[in-house]
């Protein structure tokens, strides 16, 4: 059976700057993985490169559910089942969240589950008062993250990459979002949580934790890695990687 996400020897650069230097990552269906790593190590770049953002020179391989996505445009990757929750969600002035989810449904005519998922995700995250407001405009940091979770619920992807979904959340919201991620675990889905903090991981049961340093995954293991990083930081990896 194919994996939710397969990444092999992925490189990405901008001009002379090599950011990803050979990333390998496998996320089987039904699993929740975490990626941790120091600032600037390439975590957001990995999310954007997988999503198909056109800023980078890219080589390597990535597939979703066995389907090669490398030649696909951003929207094709979305329809192939990839969802990226943005570390810094973009403001779309004048376009309400309801406008956006309506267009998402129109863009995926073969998926007739949108209406039901909009209702369910809205209820679960208490989004009613945000749905008629412009997407990410004048929202607090935490409200933007909540919007990303809502769109994740609406999109119902095969593989979700959540880039610092927990940053800027208050203590209760971290638990709520952690619980929701765990509840989105499904045999039809893989989930990758990029985070700096073990707090959100405590509300989930991540199957694997990957450490990303200098544009590579330098270590993978169980939840013990999170505790070890909390205690010692990234110094040993950065030295080893230098």
């Amino acid at each position: 059976m194919p994996n939710a996400l397969e990444v092999r020897d992925l490189h990405a650069s901008i001009g002379d700057l090599n950011i990803l230097k050979g990333v390998d990552l496998t996320v089987p269906f039904g699993e929740v993985h975490a990626i941790m790593g120091p600032n600037g190590s390439g975590k957001s770049t990995l999310s954007h490169v997988l999503m198909g953002k056109d800023e980078y020179e890219v080589t390597g391989f990535a597939s979703i559910d066995g389907v090669d996505i490398m030649g696909m445009t951003v929207d094709e990757r979305s329809r192939a089942g990839l969802f990226e929750a943005f570390q810094y969600p973009t403001q779309i002035p004048g376009v309400t969240l309801d406008d956006l989810t309506a267009e998402m449904a129109v863009s995926n005519p073969s998926d007739d589950g949108f209406e039901q998922r909009i209702a369910a995700a809205s209820e679960r995250l208490g989004m009613d008062r945000f749905r008629s407001r412009a997407v990410n405009v004048n929202l607090s940091g935490g409200e933007k993250k909540r919007t990303e979770m809502y769109l994740l619920g609406v999109a119902s992807p095969k593989i979700a990459i959540l880039d610092e979904i927990d940053s800027g959340l208050d203590i209760d919201a971290v638990r709520e979002i952690g619980d929701m991620i765990e509840s989105l675990r499904s045999p039809d889905r893989g989930i990758v949580v990029i985070t700096h903090y073990s707090r959100i991981l405590a509300y989930m049961s991540p199957d694997r934790i990957h450490v990303m340093v200098g544009g590579r995954i330098v270590k993978s293991g169980g939840s013990e890695i999170a505790e070890e990083l909390e205690a010692k930081g990234y110094t040993e990896y950065q030295v080893a990687n230098a």
Binding site: G94, V95, D99, E103, M104
Partner: protein
């Protein structure tokens, strides 16, 4: 419909002498030149053919979406003639009303050849008024509207300009308003001429003590659609909110010269215009905030944002300040650029095709100004028209 008298035959005495002076002056006036700052960027290489005003209005145009969705009064002006029964003109009024000076060829020609601007005041303003200004003729015509808002009262007027034939015309529309002490005017102008018509519009709004105006302009049509607007903050405490939405395509030129003249103390203006151009269209916005020595405590802001949707299109955006008082607060911002790449990326990452992402972005861009249009049915019509132009361009591969 009333019999149309010969031009000037019903003029009040003040108007008759003003008209004949203007006719005399016209002989010495030449076409303005794009070397003058206020005409800069324009192609003025055409013959306005003055005088050529018809001596009777053409046939009335049919109803359309705007009229069908309208619940207030309607005043019709065809080829410059007020054809709605019972609506007086300023030319017949006892007291002189002249807010536009005869300062160039077009304003002088208006004085000389306009049958008379519709005078809206008192009874005419008790409910909302839609002025349906129609052009049928290839002659140069001079439609006018003057709104006199008595002190302490409210008025709401929409002036919609349209061509009811596909004949190319030159039109010199003139819309003026006197807003009395503590009165409020809501004025919306919609320019929807056909793409063969040149429109050289003037607008003047004078605000007296604590008066306010909410002004919206929508630029859809015309080969050349120009509006030179002056808002005169004569009275202390007067204020204006000025919004605009314009969308140019084909070889259109949409031209806005807005002057906020702050004379009284403690006045405030907020200008906010958004436009887009595609194909070979050109848009021009020059905004002047002018604060006289007497205009202490003025607060004045102007913002103009432009989307360039195809490589042949261009937008000129020039904010200006001229400040003679020392205790004022001003701000201005101006942008000209393509659709935002980050917005496109974000929307596509949610599964939207690049076409729907851009369509949504264009729609969102204009929402901020379209939502300021006070009549919801008109706002919905404007939204459909603007977005329809962009969608058609997408379908035809022009953007």
């Amino acid at each position: 419909m009333t019999e149309t008298p010969t031009l000037g035959s019903t003029d009040a005495a003040w108007m008759a002498s003003r008209r004949s002076a203007a006719v005399d002056r016209l002989a010495d006036l030449a076409m303005p030149s794009e070397r003058e700052e206020i005409w800069r960027y324009l192609d003025l290489d055409f013959d306005p053919d003055i005088p050529s005003a018809p001596n009777a209005p053409g046939g009335a145009g049919g109803r359309d979406t705007v009229l069908d969705g309208w619940h207030g009064d309607v005043v019709s002006i065809i080829d410059g003639f007020v054809v709605t029964e019972g609506v007086p003109t300023i030319a017949e009024a006892d007291d002189e009303v002249s807010l536009v000076g005869d300062d160039d060829l077009f304003s002088t020609a208006f004085t000389a050849y306009a049958p008379g601007a519709a005078l809206l005041t008192g009874d005419q303003l008790t409910s909302q008024v839609l002025v349906d200004v129609q052009s049928t003729s290839s002659a140069t015509t001079f439609p006018g509207v003057h709104i006199e808002v008595p002190g302490g009262s409210d008025a709401s007027v929409i002036v919609r300009f349209r061509s009811t034939t596909d004949v190319g015309a030159t039109v010199v529309p003139t819309v003026t308003a006197n807003v009395g002490d503590n009165a409020r005017l809501t004025l919306t102008m919609i320019q929807d001429w056909n793409y063969q018509t040149r429109s050289l519009g003037r607008g003047v709004i004078s605000l007296h003590r604590d008066a306010s105006v909410l002004f919206n302009e929508v630029g859809l049509g015309a080969k050349l659609g120009r509006l030179h607007l002056d808002i005169n903050f004569v009275g202390s405490g007067s204020n204006a909110k000025v919004y605009g939405a314009y969308f140019g395509e084909d070889n259109q030129t949409l031209d806005y010269r807005y002057f906020m003249n702050h004379i009284g103390v403690h006045t405030r203006s907020d200008m906010f215009l958004k436009g887009a151009v595609e194909d070979n269209a050109l848009s021009v916005f020059t905004g002047m905030i002018r604060i006289e020595e007497t205009g202490q405590k003025t607060e004045a802001f102007q913002t103009n944002r432009n989307l360039i949707l195809s490589s042949g299109a261009a937008a000129q955006s020039v904010p200006n300040l001229e400040i003679l008082a020392n205790d004022v607060m001003c701000g201005h911002g101006s942008t000209v650029g393509p659709l935002d790449k980050d917005q496109r990326y974000y929307l596509m990452s949610r599964g939207l095709t690049p076409e729907s992402a851009d369509r949504l972005q264009v729609r969102g861009f204009f929402e901020e100004v379209i939502t300021q249009i006070p009549d919801e049915a008109i706002a919905a019509w404007v939204r459909d028209r603007i977005n329809g132009k962009y969608v058609a361009a997408q379908q035809e591969g022009r953007v």
